[in-house]
């Protein structure tokens, strides 16, 4: 579904991603680990096509289409979606408006079906009437992001730290909805949607099983393997050691 080849990305003149390769098949969920500043968020923003992230080399192919030069909304129309870690506040634009936009409606009211959708994420009606992200708590931001994705129903979804700042109860809820968004409740052969998850804590991985994990270091994917094993190595030995062990033994 998503194929990244030899990708080099600059942000404000500084090279952040170097010669990166990544391939995510239809129905697969990958998880991306790595220390702060290694380029994880940059990779997601580049896939989404934000203009500050300049592709210097390489290609991004989505559903067989080379989208390297596509604008963000063109990519979204093709089926890309993203849950942001720190989405901006927009005054006067309500969460309900965002849900309608995600549904593809330019105008619309908060109707019964939206209220039902919100209920599934423990979001009250009044909350739909609040300016998006304005004064939202960490957990509220995450649930609002997931709600918008539920409405948008993308084929490929990127989650940037969906579990940071979320209390235990809500992590379970978010994990459940993420499973649904990513076809995890279906038999593997029936899964069509794919995803890429960045998580620092790895908490959300208790609720959603990924197919593959990658460790990113200095703008590259330094090692890849089974999520359980990678997680274990990172926990025990740290990122760099995990990568070292990987290259020596070919362990993961």
């Amino acid at each position: 579904m998503l194929k990244i080849k030899n990708l080099t990305v600059e942000v404000e003149g500084k090279e952040i991603i170097r010669d990166l390769n990544l391939n995510i098949e239809s129905g697969e969920v990958h998880v991306l680990f790595g220390p702060n500043g290694c380029g994880k968020t940059t990779l997601l923003m580049t896939i989404l096509g934000f203009p500050n992230y300049k592709v210097k080399k390489g290609t991004i192919t989505f559903k067989g289409v080379d989208i390297t030069d596509f604008t963000t909304n063109e990519r979204v129309k093709l089926g890309l979606g993203m849950s942001f870690q720190h989405p901006p506040e927009i005054r006067g634009v309500k969460l309900g408006d965002m849900v309608n936009i995600a549904l593809g409606k330019k105008e619309g009211e908060i109707d019964e079906s939206m209220i039902e959708l919100a209920k599934r994420l423990n979001i009250a009606v009044e909350f739909l009437n609040r300016d998006v992200n304005l004064g939202f708590s960490g957990g509220e931001v995450k649930r609002s992001e997931i709600l918008q994705l539920l409405a948008q129903a993308p084929d490929f979804i990127m989650f940037d730290e969906p579990d940071s700042g979320v209390d235990v109860e809500n992590i379970e809820l978010i994990g459940k909805i993420m499973c649904e968004l990513l076809d995890r409740n279906k038999l593997p052969s029936k899964r069509e949607r794919s995803g890429l998850i960045i998580t620092h804590s790895g908490f959300v991985m208790h609720y959603i099983k990924a197919d593959r994990a990658h460790v990113m270091l200095n703008g590259r994917i330094a090692c890849s393997g089974m999520p359980d094993e990678i997680t274990k190595r990172i926990m025990e030995d740290g990122f760099e050691r995990c990568v070292e062990l990987c290259s020596v033994k070919g362990a993961c």
């Binding site: 604008t71 909304n73 979204v76 993203m82 942001f84 901006p88 006067g92 936009i101 300016d131």
Partner: protein, 405 residues
């Protein structure tokens, strides 16, 4: 008394206003009279859209009364509900001797050359009064319409809500497409009696050759409420206004919201002032201003706290869409004692890139995203209006926005 008023006006004839560029009143003629209509719907087709653009419903649907002044003539004035009175101010002055107790009581007749001009050569204006205890939630609509070129319109409006009554007013100021230049001088005095409420929704739909100098003041008695919503989306040559609300009574409440979108070479100096003189009185001033092209906006807010437990807040936000436009945001607070609370917040900025990107990540194009952000920026919650009127106001706002975007 009357003589004294005229003398004071005569002396102020050349008195420049404190704010706004000076206008040569004599450059504008007095215009001619027009025939009255028997129903508002009879207004010539070519003018109907002008009325609609200013929030005026020619069919009079969902309106408790209608008033239309064309140039210097009142051509329609009718009220449909008991408890309400509506007529030309000139007629009202003749009919009611007591009206002199209200005339020029909230605004000094010699404030500047414009107030003086309105006194010396008044051409009607509306008088609206709700009787004590009457509560008509359906709004009265009044329209001040200019259809002749190079004329001045000098109106004096008086609105009185008697004790425990409720009065909702929509005023639309409009100009026909055939007018290349005109001057509108409007004096408006509002009196909110004990326990009464007035909501005033005003849409200005001028054009780039029109100069406008409204002079407005509001007096609110004990437990009275005044809510003002002002919308200006179309260009205007120059407009300067600084309505003042005097919360004289205990627990008097005032809310003023203004939404201004200035384009072209528009010059606007618009403010809102509240004077808190009644114990526990409260005022809130909210403004949103967008400047594009070469527009110049001065957005003022001023709260003066003079009474115990008074509370005032100003919220001014400006959005710049062009490097050749300017916004001056000037919030002012003045306290004259300890036991009160005044605050303000002001911000001027551009559209944040990351907000556009966020919306694009939900599927909007860059232009669509920009328009959603602008719409959101101007979207202040309209509170204090009856549901139907709030919806209607929202509709008028959407419609005016649609036109400029």
């Amino acid at each position: 008394m009357k003589e004294d008023r005229i003398e004071r006006a005569e002396r102020a004839r050349a008195k420049k206003a404190a704010l706004g560029e000076d206008i040569a009143i004599e450059d504008y003629g007095t215009g001619k009279e027009h025939d009255a209509l028997t129903s508002l719907d009879e207004i010539p087709e070519e003018y109907k859209q002008n009325l609609l653009d200013a929030g005026i419903e020619p069919s009079e649907r969902e309106r408790s009364g209608s008033f239309l002044q064309r140039d210097r003539s009142v051509i329609f004035s009718k009220v449909k509900y008991p408890g309400l009175e509506l007529m030309s101010t000139t007629d009202a002055i003749e009919k009611y001797g007591w009206l002199k107790e209200y005339l020029w009581k909230a605004i000094p007749v010699d404030q500047d050359k414009y107030t003086a001009e309105v006194e010396l050569d008044q051409t009607h204006g509306y008088f609206i009064r709700s009787e004590a205890g009457s509560k008509v939630t359906m709004p009265v609509q009044s329209c001040l319409f200019i259809t002749s070129d190079k004329i001045r319109q000098n109106v004096h409006n008086i609105v009185i809500a008697e004790e425990n009554s409720e009065l909702h007013l929509i005023t639309g100021c409009a100009v026909s497409h055939s007018v290349s230049s005109a001057l509108h001088l409007g004096v408006s005095e509002f009196y909110v009696k004990k326990g009464a409420k007035i909501t005033f929704t005003m849409i200005h739909s001028w054009s780039s050759g029109v100069e406008v100098r409204p002079r407005s003041a509001v007096v609110i008695e004990d437990d009275g409420t005044y809510v003002s919503n002002y919308i200006l989306m179309t260009p205007v040559k120059s407009l300067q206004t600084y309505p003042t609300t005097y919360c004289v009574g205990k627990n008097a409440r005032a809310t003023s919201q203004s939404i201004v979108y200035a384009s072209g070479d528009t010059k606007i100096d618009v403010g809102s002032r509240a004077v808190l003189q009644g114990e526990g009185s409260k005022a809130e001033i909210i403004s949103r201003a967008i400047a594009t092209d070469n527009a110049r906006i001065i957005a003022r807010g001023d709260v003066i706290g003079e009474a115990a437990n008074a509370k005032g807040h100003i919220e001014c936000r400006g959005l710049m869409l062009s490097d050749t436009a300017t916004i001056d945001s000037i919030p002012e607070l003045k306290a004259t004692r300890r036991d009160l609370e005044l605050s303000h917040e002001a911000a001027v900025g551009k559209i944040a890139e990351e907000e556009i990107q966020y919306l694009m990540a939900r599927g909007l194009s860059e232009d669509e995203a920009t328009s959603v952000i602008i719409r959101g920026f101007l979207n202040v919650d309209i509170t204090g209006l009856p549901d139907a009127l709030a919806k209607e106001t929202k509709k008028m706002f959407d419609m005016s926005l649609e036109k400029v975007m």
